[in-house]
């Protein structure tokens, strides 16, 4: 039966500072719950609570409907993988993987060695790597080997704390797709935290936005990204937050993702402040009429060739992507939150 994990109203204070404030979310076997949030928002703490390394001050961790708050990580069947390898440095890769298999699953020495070889092969680790010590591996090999050691224990819940963040992009994409596939095939619940929104959107079956220790939004990734339910979530996701036109003709405070803003080189009224070229698209930063506020828009590279900083352009916004938050008020001064 696929595992169900629920984190319910969890509060954590560390060194007198509230880190998690009433966080609730869930994950189930074969599916990925991804938590995004800025640095210091409590993402790692949340995973440590889920893993059982940290006890919450209040709230519960439920596994298959039963409270697991006071269970050890082993009893929960949880494994946490971060950017730091989980390999013991004095042992070879094979010994590390085999030790994990023997401890967690009670395999014999021979069975564990065979499993280590199989796992290494399925994760793309060359056979020669198995006999090496962790210090002799490259960054990518180290993370694959760590993943193998974690998977050798056959966790029911895999918690990933940006384990591939420092790897190069192709390898990062390969590994996160591999983990997602294994999650579906093996049926473990996957909870991953990241600050990379592209990664989150690609991987997530459910997406949570964690800001200042609170869940600012939680739901299907498409909905959360395009129609965030709170202003904090919109701000973190890099949406334009603006008072008045063109987002809100009646002068309210509103938000819209940069993808929903269109730039017309033949139009007038907005000044191109700066242009940032990114993979496959270009982010244009626009200054409003009379210098009131900024907007950001993604444009196709072919259009970017037709505009330059200082040029006057027209701007329109797709209405369906605009969220109106109410009257403009102090403290929500317009600012772009996604800086290249």
């Amino acid at each position: 039966m696929a595992v169900e994990v629920e984190i319910r109203d969890v509060w954590v204070t560390l060194s007198g500072t509230p880190v998690l404030r009433g966080v609730s979310l869930s994950a189930s076997g074969g599916r990925a719950t991804v938590v995004v949030g800025p640095s210091g928002s409590g993402k790692t703490t949340l995973l440590r609570v889920a893993a059982g390394f940290l006890q919450p001050d209040r709230g519960d961790v439920l596994i298959d409907g039963r409270s697991a708050t006071h269970l050890s990580p082993q009893e929960r069947g949880a494994a946490l993988l971060s950017q730091r390898p989980v390999l013991l440095p004095h042992m070879s890769v094979a010994d590390n993987i085999a030790l994990a298999a023997r401890l967690a699953r009670g395999l014999t020495r021979g069975e564990a060695r065979r499993l280590a070889a199989e796992l290494a092969a399925s994760l793309g680790l060359p056979g020669g790597v198995l006999g090496r010590k962790p210090a002799e591996l490259s960054g990518g090999q180290l993370q694959r080997a760590s993943l193998a050691a974690v998977l050798a224990a056959r966790p029911r819940i895999l918690l990933l704390d940006e384990p591939f963040a420092h790897l190069d992009l192709p390898l990062r994409e390969e590994l996160r797709r591999l983990v997602a596939r294994l999650s579906r095939e093996w049926g473990f619940a996957l909870v991953q935290v990241t600050h990379d929104q592209d990664e989150a959107l690609e991987l997530a079956d459910s997406l949570a936005v964690l800001v200042d220790g609170r869940i600012a939004d939680y739901g299907p990734p498409e909905r959360v990204y395009w129609r965030p339910s709170t202003l904090e979530a919109a701000r973190f996701l890099g949406h334009n937050i603006h008072c008045g036109p063109p987002l809100a003709p009646r002068g309210e405070l509103a938000s819209a993702p940069p993808e929903a803003v269109s730039v017309d080189p033949r139009g007038q009224g907005w000044i191109v402040a700066s242009i940032y070229r990114q993979r496959g698209r270009v982010l244009v930063r626009l200054r409003g009429p009379g210098g009131e506020g900024d907007l950001q828009a993604y444009v196709h590279p072919s259009m970017a060739r037709r505009i330059e900083p200082g040029a006057s352009v027209g701007v329109s916004v797709e209405d369906w992507a605009v969220r109106v938050w109410g009257p403009c008020r102090a403290g929500w001064a317009p600012r772009a939150s996604r800086q290249p």
Binding site: V86, P89, K133
Partner: protein, 529 residues
């Protein structure tokens, strides 16, 4: 700490004072050995002395590591409070003057507990081994705790979370992870024990039979004037042995796996019987470490055989009613000790402050070289090459004082340099590069860097002073009664007329001074590791 290259704007010339001090200590014995022809025959079997010296060093190092390693594991992985405190409290033990410790062992195990099996700890071969291992227990604890702090917490957290615990946890993870620290501690403890002098000279029943090579070199020099050539020849053996050990240590250090740590630490739980056992072990260890220190004070007040408490020993010492030669006195020895400590600390800190910001691996190796020359051998080198010319110009007493200060400065230099380096290393390289780019160079830049490491300079100075107070072999060779230190006065009181209470009173004063200095720096030492 990672190796650093020379900082911009700082010339290598700044290291010259420090290198000169190190050279003054290390080159004379080498020259002496190279130019002296031995004559006569040794009054002992060289093979036996070398075997015993090696055996007792190996036994002492093994016992020290066996007793200190678990404390390091408890401190590093379990955050055990008593074990963690040993990292600070161990420094006074490590730096305690050897004469005081030997008298403490004698007072407790030969006096109070005489006749019990424990009296073996202050008698003969076992006494020598017990004293030598005693000093190195905190070293083993500190170095293994340092290795633990460099271990990857994520790996331990993961494997303990899937069931690695108990004895299996220790065997599969904790001991292997700290083994590099234990190996380094064993080699250092072996080296220190190999050049042991005080215990063989002072432990009851050890005379001649359980002399180490260092003790024999001193005895040949002091007691057999016709065999001084042989003393120098034996010094060559000692130099070769210690240089080999230093090379072995450097090799081991280069081979140790560099374990990257995230800077986080793991705190494994300790519950039930394991917690009780750990606390009991730490309590026994503390008792073992503190009892000799208390024992020396006890002997000075209650006397070697117990009895009524009295300050008579102190009174006799203060009033000069002690069996010591004319020219020597408690007050003079105290003044000498303080003067040697103050002068050598000031010189060592000044030289180290100039050298620390510049020093690369080679300079650091040169500054550490004095540690590979035993005090008696270095003393002989200075005595035979510089004492006569200096005495002709300045008189015997001043020549003696100058050479003692030079020797103590060299002994203190590695400690001061290490301390100041650790402070200077915290100044970001970018800040130094910026300072150099706006014209701050040479000694001015070094001075600014040293000022930014003011706390480390103070710690280095206090440690240097403590090392000088505890230094024994060099003063023994280079001093005359007017220039005795408290340590030598203690030894002479103990040797001449066998008056343990007077010796213990003198040792207690010396111990109190050293403890006061090391207590001030104990907390800062953790930052070096």
């Amino acid at each position: 700490m990672p190796a650093r290259t020379a900082r911009p704007g700082l010339g290598w010339g700044l290291t010259l004072p420090a290198l000169a001090i190190a050279a003054l200590y290390t080159i004379p014995p080498v020259l002496l050995v190279a130019t002296t022809r031995p004559s006569g025959s040794l009054p002992f079997s060289l093979a036996r002395v070398l075997s015993w010296t090696t055996l007792q060093a190996a036994a002492s190092a093994s016992i020290a590591v066996a007793l200190g390693w678990p404390a390091g594991v408890l401190a590093g992985f379990y955050g055990h409070r008593l074990a963690r405190a040993l990292r600070s409290l161990g420094l006074p033990v490590f730096m305690a003057p050897s004469v005081a410790v030997v008298l403490g062992f004698r007072g407790v195990y030969h006096g109070l507990l005489g006749g019990t099996p424990l009296s073996a700890l202050a008698r003969g071969a076992t006494g020598v081994i017990a004293v030598h291992s005693y000093f190195n227990i905190p070293l083993a604890a500190v170095l293994t705790a340092a290795a633990a702090s460099r271990s990857p917490p994520e790996a331990l957290e993961y494997f303990t979370s899937i069931g690695l615990r108990g004895a299996r946890l220790w065997v599969r993870a904790l001991l292997p992870l700290t083994a590099p620290g234990a190996a380094a501690a064993w080699l250092l403890a072996f080296t220190y024990s190999f050049m042991g002098l005080t215990a063989p000279l002072m432990v009851p029943g050890a005379a001649y039979r359980y002399y180490t090579l260092e003790a024999w070199i001193y005895t040949l020099f002091q007691g057999f004037p016709t065999l001084r050539g042989l003393a120098v020849w034996a010094s060559g053996l000692q130099l070769a042995a210690l240089t080999s050990l230093a090379a072995a240590f450097a090799w081991l250090h280069s081979r140790l796996p560099s374990i990257e740590s995230s800077g986080a630490s793991v705190s494994l739980p300790l519950r039930g019987a394991a917690r009780l056992a750990a606390s009991a072990y730490m309590a026994l260890l503390y008792a073992y470490l503190l009892i000799p220190l208390a024992g020396v004070a006890y002997t000075s007040i209650w006397g070697p055989a117990g009895g009524h408490p009295s300050l008579e020993a102190y009174r006799r010492l203060a009033e000069g009613r002690a069996p010591i030669p004319p020219g020597a006195s408690l007050w003079l020895a105290l003044a000498n000790s303080l003067a040697y400590a103050g002068a050598s600390a000031a010189l060592a800190v000044a030289a180290a402050a100039l050298a620390a910001p510049v020093s690369g691996p080679l300079v650091r190796a040169a500054l550490t070289a004095p540690l590979a020359v035993s005090p008696v051998v270095a003393g002989l080198g200075l005595y035979f090459t510089l004492f006569k010319p200096l005495a002709g110009r300045l008189g015997i007493a001043w020549a003696s004082r100058l050479l003692i200060v030079a020797a103590h400065t060299a002994v203190a230099l590695p400690l001061a340099a290490r301390s100041i380096e650790s402070g200077v290393a915290r100044v970001p390289r970018e800040a130094v590069e910026f300072a150099a780019s706006i014209g701050l160079r040479g000694a001015r830049l070094a001075l600014q860097l040293a000022r930014s490491a003011g706390e480390s300079m103070l710690a280095g100075g206090l440690l240097a002073a403590a090392a000088s107070l505890g230094e024994f072999g060099g003063v023994l060779v280079l001093s005359v009664p007017e220039t005795w230190s408290l340590g030598v006065l203690t030894y002479r009181l103990y040797g001449a007329g066998r008056v343990p209470d007077l010796a213990a009173a003198s040792a207690t004063l010396l111990l109190a001074l050293t403890l006061a200095l090391t207590a001030l720096v104990a907390r800062r030492v953790e930052r070096w590791l």
